[in-house]
Symmetry: C2
Subunit: 247 residues, 2 copies
């Protein structure tokens, strides 16, 4: 049997939001590799295992550690927050994996912030949607702008990942300004901070208000589509089922 590396989505952080499959993989692993914060989120329960990490921006090195440990015959799990395949490490593992063809790669899906944040806000993603990251570390800003415009023109619900960071404090404002060319200022929006962790906070606002909202890097932002509405204080987008209006 070939040696394997499991690339595991941890979901938002709380163990209960991991799948049974992901928990089984971590339980059976000899080595768990991850960004230090994620290893910390896993808590005390994996202290008996070998925990290896590299700092931010050292993702390539982190991948190589996985392959090298797997070559030694160890059972390796690489953990990522959310879903490992959505802005996670899965694609980099495949790229670097070209050099390690004898090691098999398996992605274990996890709950991404679009899903977990939507559950907190109500049901904003019940129809077609886009997910866009505002991080321009690895993507040119004009490409991000183009996608925001296309998403608005397609009347998609829009989920924004990485809406802010220390160096990009005004990015959400810039994104809202672009969206406001197409979308009315009263469009309903929502945001969730620290999904599935201590101190989860949600808020509902209009797009106009969102433009001036300061959010942190642990926030996921949702822009409704033309059919989204606020029901019982939650952000809801109809799937299209038409319920007769109540008298």
């Amino acid at each position: 049997m070939r040696n394997k590396v499991y690339i595991v989505g941890m979901g938002p952080g709380r163990e209960e939001m991991m799948t049974k499959e992901a928990l089984n993989v971590l339980n059976q692993a000899d080595v768990i590799v991850g960004y230090p914060l994620y290893l910390k989120l896993l808590g005390e329960r994996y202290q008996g295992k070998e925990l290896l990490s590299t700092p931010m921006r050292h993702e390539e090195e982190r991948c190589r550690i996985c392959f090298e440990e797997a070559e030694k015959g160890k059972r390796v799990a690489l953990v990522c927050s959310g879903d490992a395949g959505i802005y996670g490490m899965a694609s980099l593992m495949y790229e670097i994996g070209k050099e390690y063809p004898e090691i098999e790669l398996l992605v274990i899906a996890g709950i991404t912030a679009a899903s977990s944040g939507a559950a907190v806000l109500g049901a904003p993603l019940n129809h077609d949607f886009c997910v866009i990251s505002l991080s321009d570390l690895l993507t040119p800003w004009d490409k991000i702008e183009k996608r925001l415009r296309a998403a608005a023109e397609g009347d998609f619900v829009i989920v924004i990942y990485n809406p802010s960071s220390h160096k990009r404090k005004d990015y959400l404002k810039r994104a809202c300004e672009i969206l406001l060319h197409t979308i009315e200022g009263e469009r309903v929006c929502g945001y969730v901070e620290n999904i599935g962790r201590e101190g989860t906070k949600m808020g509902i606002s209009t797009l106009k208000e969102l433009k001036n909202k300061e959010v942190n890097m642990f926030t996921t932002v949702f822009i409704g589509n033309s059919e989204s509405e606020i029901i019982r204080g939650k952000l809801v987008t109809r799937r299209g089922y038409h319920v007769e209006k109540q008298k």
Copy 2:
């Protein structure tokens, strides 16, 4: 404490792909409500509980059953495949819930087919993406076309839900024709059938080939973006991390 209905995402079907939270909610429920197929997917393990279902197209009635059972003081879980908030029952529950303000609603996120299908195919969603359903039961086809065009113009990876049904055998072909106005025929694509169930099948093709591919209603289709590629037989979209080319 208010009576509650939990709206639970089951993920693709296998119990191991449910979150621990979802499994706990089902274990503690008195009544589990769902579409008959989903109750069947839950298997034998919940036989001790009251299992209630309504046929397809009777979604509104299914929601009302949940509220009525909760009014009796029972612990109710409504199950949906994938994520209950993504083309699931969550938004309809909020709409009908206007009539039952005393019942609290809680959405428990699940793994949607975009995540679980991506894990099977490799790492196609590692950058910005759109999710579009081709079902025109509840959405006019011209709106679907508009979204396909916008998604192609934004260079999003595109995930297609409900690509086909008995009555809509040529919808994927029609969708591909629209995409081919903007996207080259050689663009890499993938599809997964019966994700997380028995008989999971995946395939890789070009967009041109996909146009003539017959898929069934249990298939999820992925159209790569301009940076997607095939690595080790898998569909991979770079996050943007640039790995130096190998000699």
